[in-house]
Amino acid sequence: MSLSTKHLLGIKDLTKEDIQTILQTAEQFKEVLQRPIKKVPSLRDVTIVNLFYENSTRTRISFELAEKRLSADTINFSASGSSVSKGETLLDTVNNILSMKVDMVVMRHSASGAPHFLAKHIPAAIINAGDGVNEHPTQALLDALSIKERLGQLEGVKVAIIGDIMHSRVAQSNIYLLKKMGAEVIVCGPPTLIPKYIREAFGVKVEYNLRKALEWCDVANVLRIQLERQNQVLFSSLREYSLAYGINRRLLDSLNKTITIMHPGPINRGVELDSDVADSKQSLVLQQVENGVAVRMAVLYLLSNRQN
C-alpha cells in the first residue's frame, strides 16, 4: 500500500484513491494525537529537511510537529540568514543538504513550480508546502478532513471559496481536491481577483455576489487578500473590499441556514472575516490547524516508503 506518486507536488497529480488513503490514515493519526504519549516510532530512521524560502507560521510548525511525532530527525532551513543571500542557487543548496544524507524535503517557495523543478533533479521525496500561486496540497487535504469531520462526507457538499482566488494556492489546491472528490464548488470575489477562464479550466461556478454565494453553500472557505503578491491595484481599498466581501455576524444571521466557516490563516480580522465570526462555533479555523498535524503525519508516513 502506498500512493501513486513518489512526491507530493500538488493535488493535481493525486488520484481519488490517493486522497482517500491519506484522509483515512490521517484519521488514525488523529487518534494517536489524543494519546498520553503522542509519538510513534514509524519514521525513526528518516531525516527530513524543512526548506522554507517564504515566511510561514502554521505550516512550518505543523510540519515540524508532525515530523517529531513520527520520530523523524528534522533540520530547519530558512532562506534568511543562509548562504542564499550570498547567491547560492536553489539546486546547489538542496544538493548540499542532501549530501548530508537527508531522505525527504518539505519545501515552500515563492516561485510556482519550484518543487517540480527540484523533483526532476534530486532523488529525495519532495513535499510541497506551498509554491507561489500554484498549489498548497497539505492545506487542501486538511480542509477536506475538516469538512469530512463536520459534514460526514465530501461528495455532494457545496463549498464556496471566497476572496482572492487569483493569488491563492490554497484555492487552486482546494478546487482540484473538491472536484476530484465529487463536491460542488463556487468561487466568489471581486471580478479583478477571479481569473478570467477559471470556469472553463476547473469546471467551477463563478459568483460575484457574496450573499448569493453564501445562500447557496454549506461551507464557506474564506481566503486572505494577498497584498504581497498583488503588484497592481486590483481594488480601491481594503475598507471597500471589506464592505462588499467581508463576512460578519449580521450577514450570517440573515441567512436562512447555518453554514460552516473555514479560513486557512493568517486571518486579517475585520477585512475578510470579522472577529465574532472567526471565534464562533460556526468557524472551523482551530480544528483545521489541529487536523493539519494529522494530515501532515499521514503524508510523511505514506511517502516514506524507502524501497523506491
Partner: protein, 214 residues
Amino acid sequence: MQKCKFEARPRNAVRKTGKTVYELDFEFKRFYRYFYKNFQVKTILNEQQLAITIKRLSHQVLENNTDPDDLVLIGLQPRGVFFSDRIMEEISNMLPGRSIHYGKLDITFYRDDIRNELHVPNQTDLAFSLENKRVILIDDVLHTGRTIRAALDALLAFGRPAKVELCILIDRRFSRQLPIQPDFTGKAIDSIITQKVKVFWKERDQKEEVAILD
C-alpha cells in the same frame, strides 16, 4: 493431525535451486493451484471445538485475574478483534452486571518491517489509561512474535500496566523469531513457514473454523 503431504519439499528445493523460501512458496502455491485448482485446506478446529476452546480460555483468564476492575482486555487489529470480541462476550456472561475494560489496538505505526512495506492503519480504540492495570493482549495466531513485540511498544503509549499477559488462539510453536511466549494458548500446532494458518470468523468469512492452508 494428518501429516503434511509436501512437508519435505521446500527444504530440498531450497538446496537444489538456491531460491529463497518465499520465492519457492509462491512457485509451489502456483503449482498446487494449477493441479488442484485450490489450496489444500486442513481443518485444525471446527466450529464446535472453537467455541469450547474460547470458553476454556475465558475461564483461564478469569481464574488468573480475580479482580475484574483491574482487568483490561485488548484485541489486536485487524483479525485479533474477532477473537477478543468472543472472549469479551464470554467473560461478560460470567460476570453479569460488571463492566470490563475492553479496547482495540492497531500496531501499524510500530511495525519493524515498515521499510519494506507500508500497511493501511486500522482503528485504535482505547479510551482509558492502562496505568497499573492487568492487561491481556489477545490475538488469533502467534507466529514469529513480531506483532506482539510491536503491540508491547504501542501499549506503553497508554500508560504503565502492572502486568501484561498474552492470550493466543493458535500458537505456531518452533517458528518464533523473538523470545515471546503465550500465557494462555488455545491450541499449539507444528507448522512450516510455507504453510498458512488462518482463523475464519462468521462475521467476516461466513464460516467458523481454524485451518492450515498449504
